[in-house]
């Protein structure tokens, strides 16, 4: 029996291999984004190939783009923008959405009603459309892009967190905390958050994918990251002329976007599960 109690104290986790594949691809891109300036084979802006839309070769591993620049270097640097901007935006959106959602569930009453209607109104504008309008109106510096993407995805995060928190809020332990005289911030962060953190993380993953896709879409339309910088969406846009030639310059950035979004999806569908075998 002594071994069994020791086991049940340290909960073990089960992590499926599909999730591990997802995680390793994400880690790979995160590492690439972090180390980008040190691992690029050629400077990003330099024209190296005399041919444009050059094929894959020993010198240029992923071929060259429409100006004859090294595609591999541009993908590596593009990872910084795609991953960085999306991550910053999703953190902002999910943090503010979750905090507001939980607070609305706990406080209730007019606070909940006013906030919910306000964010519903924001949510009713199609995300691509509002993205286009804001980018066209204010211009698109990196800061504006991050804030814009965060604002677009906050209402969804708010709705999700609120609906989870409303369920937890009716539990008796919340009533116990209230009758103890606890404040709102304690109830939100100590009593509710630990119980909904799992679904919130899954939501974080989905929203990250949405943001990567929206950002790539905006860049493709020329309203996202502006030259001389280029994220993956912008790379697809720049090299769209290579499509008839089957140039790697247009296929590789598309594959990069797909690999990142699919692997995030794989990971959040297969997050490690805690094994609750009490007698083991």
């Amino acid at each position: 029996m002594t071994t069994s109690t020791a086991l049940s104290r340290r909960p073990s986790y089960r992590f499926s291999w599909v999730g591990m594949i997802g995680l390793s691809i994400i880690l790979f891109w995160a590492l690439v984004a972090l180390l980008a300036p040190h691992i690029v084979p050629y400077p990003v802006g330099e024209i190296i190939d005399e041919d444009y839309f050059g094929p894959m070769s020993g010198k240029l591993l992923l071929g060259s783009d429409y100006l004859g620049r090294d595609m591999l270097s541009r993908i590596i640097m593009g990872a910084r923008y795609t991953v960085g901007i999306s991550l910053a935006a999703v953190c902002l959106a999910c943090f503010s959405g979750a905090a507001l959602g939980m607070a609305a569930a706990v406080i209730g009453g007019w606070f909940d009603t006013v906030l919910s209607r306000l964010l519903d109104a924001l949510n009713s504008i199609p995300s691509k459309l509002s993205g286009l309008v804001i980018a066209a109106a204010v211009g698109s510096s990196l800061g504006v892009l991050v804030v814009m993407l965060a604002v677009i995805y906050t209402p969804g995060a708010y709705r999700f967190a609120r609906s989870l928190a409303v369920n937890v809020n009716t539990m008796d332990y919340i009533t116990v905390a209230r009758t103890r005289g606890e404040g709102i911030s304690y109830i939100v962060f100590s009593e509710i958050l630990p119980n909904i953190i799992g679904p919130l993380l899954a939501d974080f993953g989905i929203r990250f994918v949405f943001i990567v896709l929206l950002l790539s879409g905006l860049s493709f339309l020329g309203l996202g990251v502006q030259p001389p910088y280029a994220d993956w969406g912008a790379l697809v846009h720049e090299n769209i002329g290579g499509l008839p030639f089957g140039a790697p310059a247009v296929i590789v950035p598309s594959l990069a976007i797909a690999s990142l979004t699919i692997s995030v999806n794989l990971l959040i569908d297969n997050l490690p599960k805690k094994i609750r075998d009490r007698s083991a």
Binding site: T5, S8, R9, S12, R14, M171, D172, Y173, T175, V176, R178, T179, R180, G181, E182, E191, P194, N195, I197, K273, I275, R276, D277, R278, S279, A280
Partner: protein, 551 residues
């Protein structure tokens, strides 16, 4: 005579989420003769429902029948294919679930669901099936047997729905009916009607029955034979009278002793002061929008007044919906009262908990029925008990750790549970932690809302003993809310009987322990007794039943 059911060396396995196999039924032998009613009794987790379900060849998801044989009317249910099992189900063996409310489809008329079995097995034309259903409704003494089937499930009461579920099970004249705790969710006053109907209809149809229950007194009324189970093994089998009068197995005796009336110890803490600890006068509370007179639309509690002296206990009993929990919630300030005055220890209490001072909140603690939902599953026991210590007493570090150990010791839990989460504790352990959290505040009064209802008889008795002990040591007072009279009698000095939101009677030992009000008399007389002849000999005034029982 050949047995209808023969179970030989039955084994059921469950697979845990770590992929490990666990034997939950460890080789059971059981025979049921035609027309015999056998009761399976035991605490939760003893495997009684699992065994009952295997008779239909069914194992719940994650479980599987791993060995042995179950022969029902000559067919081995273990060896049959799923299609052949479906032929047996409903026709030869049928099932009455614990919660009929969850078993009926809310969007279909009752009669269409009752006759469904005859349609699936193509037994008889629809008109004939309906006629048969109506005659069953009559046999189960349901009101308006011709019309009741044409209602929807939400239009009949819980007790009626339970009888309608029995009609559904009996429509194809099965050889065996499995009753899975069919009266557990009902009030005692309703339970009697349902039990009587079951007993009469089973006698008339001559079907055999398996009655699963944790309540020995209920089983005593209906079963011919009792099988006592624990941990997936048979502890004792015997005729009902034998088991009740001379049980041999210690576990059976333990179950029986939980029924013995326990005298409330006269060791009441000396009451020096005459000032009551808690005084409630003219309290009105309810739900819904506020009306012109400033009172809510639905008044769950109407002008309740009570007073409780220090070191004494007050019991509040009544059936579900009588307003007892609402009363507890308004005393605790969770549901602010619309009218009335609350005084705790001479100082007036605000109606809403938000307006009460931290000191007042500390002095009055509430413990809820479901320990599962009142302990945060994401926190360790240490964190759960540590929070009130820090919040009310500003305890930190070593002092707090020592106090947590002390509290665990007080409620008889080992210190090794500190780092566990609530999901890793048993029901009884959770309820002890729940209670320890209230003790951590060092209150003067603890409101206990049905705290033993979700526990097994033996575990509940241990929790009650703990409560008494705490009272002796810490000079606490309790308000004890329950629908279970025996629990309330075991711990309370005074008993308040509530009916329909009103206090109908206050029973104090000083006056007499005998209830005067007709509803109290009905309630007290409805509590099942261990005597197997109790149900048949019980006579109730039909007028009284008509007035107060809506089951």
């Amino acid at each position: 005579m050949e047995n209808l059911v023969e179970i030989r060396n039955l084994k059921v396995e469950a697979t845990t989420d770590a992929g490990r196999r666990l034997e939950i039924i460890k080789g059971i032998d059981l025979d049921i003769a035609p027309g015999e009613i056998v009761a399976l009794i035991g605490e939760s987790g003893s495997g009684k429902t699992t065994i009952a379900l295997t008779i239909m060849g069914y194992a719940r998801p994650g479980c599987r029948i791993s060995g042995g044989s179950i022969t029902v009317a000559g067919k081995n249910m273990v060896a049959l294919g799923e299609r052949q099992r479906a032929q047996v189900r409903g026709l030869e063996v049928s099932y009455v679930p614990q919660s009929a409310a969850a078993a009926f489809n809310p969007s279909k008329r009752i009669i269409d669901q009752v006759v469904e079995v005859t349609r699936i097995h193509r037994l008889m034309p629809l008109a004939q099936a309906r006629e048969k259903a109506i005659s069953l409704f009559r046999a189960l003494s349901l009101p308006d047997p011709e019309g009741i089937g044409y209602r929807y499930p939400h239009q009949v009461s819980g007790g009626q729905l339970q009888r309608l579920a029995a009609a559904m099970a009996l429509i194809a004249d099965p050889k065996l009916v499995i009753f899975d705790e069919p009266t557990t969710a009902l009030d005692v006053t309703t339970q009697i009607e349902v039990l009587r109907a079951f007993k009469a209809v089973m006698k008339k149809s001559g079907s055999a029955g398996v009655y699963v229950s944790h309540d020995l007194a209920v089983v005593a009324q209906i079963a011919d034979r009792i099988v006592v189970l624990r941990g997936g093994e048979v502890q004792e089998v015997g005729n009902t009278a034998d088991i009740l009068s001379n049980a041999r197995h210690p576990y059976t005796r333990e179950l029986l002793s939980a029924f013995e009336p326990k005298a409330r110890g006269a060791s009441v803490v000396a009451v020096a002061e005459s000032r009551p600890l808690l005084q409630v006068s003219g309290l009105i509370a309810g739900y819904g929008p506020t009306q012109a007179d400033g009172l809510p639309l639905v008044r769950a509690v109407q002008e309740a007044s009570l007073s409780l002296e220090r070191g004494r206990n007050l019991g509040i009993i009544g059936e579900s919906g009588c307003g007892k929990s609402t009363l507890a919630r308004s005393i605790a300030g969770i549901l602010p009262a619309s009218a009335g005055k609350l005084t705790l220890d001479g100082r007036e209490l605000a109606r809403s908990a938000r307006q009460r001072s931290r000191e007042q909140l500390r002095e009055l603690q509430i413990v809820f029925q479901h320990a599962d939902t009142s302990l945060n599953p994401a926190k360790s026991i240490e964190e759960i008990l540590g929070r009130p210590l820090k919040f009310y007493h500003g305890m930190k570090g070593k002092a707090r750790d020592a106090r947590i150990d002390e509290l665990l010791d007080m409620v008889r839990l080992p210190k090794s549970l500190r780092s566990r989460t609530p999901a890793e504790l048993s029901g009884g352990q959770k309820q002890r932690v729940n209670f320890a959290r209230a003790l951590a505040a060092e209150p003067k009064l603890i409101v206990c809302d049905e705290i033993t209802s979700a526990l097994d008889t033996v575990v509940a008795a241990a929790v009650i003993d703990l409560l008494k002990e705490m009272q002796r040591e810490l000079a606490l007072s309790y308000i004890f809310i329950s629908h279970d009279l025996s629990v309330v009698e075991a711990i309370c000095d005074e008993i308040v009987v509530m009916y329909n939101g009103r206090k109908v009677e206050e029973i104090t030992p000083a006056r007499s322990k005998v209830p005067q009000h007709p509803y109290s008399q009905l309630l007290f007389s409805s509590v099942p007794k261990l005597d197997p002849g109790w149900l048949d000999s019980l006579e109730r005034d039909p007028e009284l039943v008509k007035t107060y029982v809506h089951g």
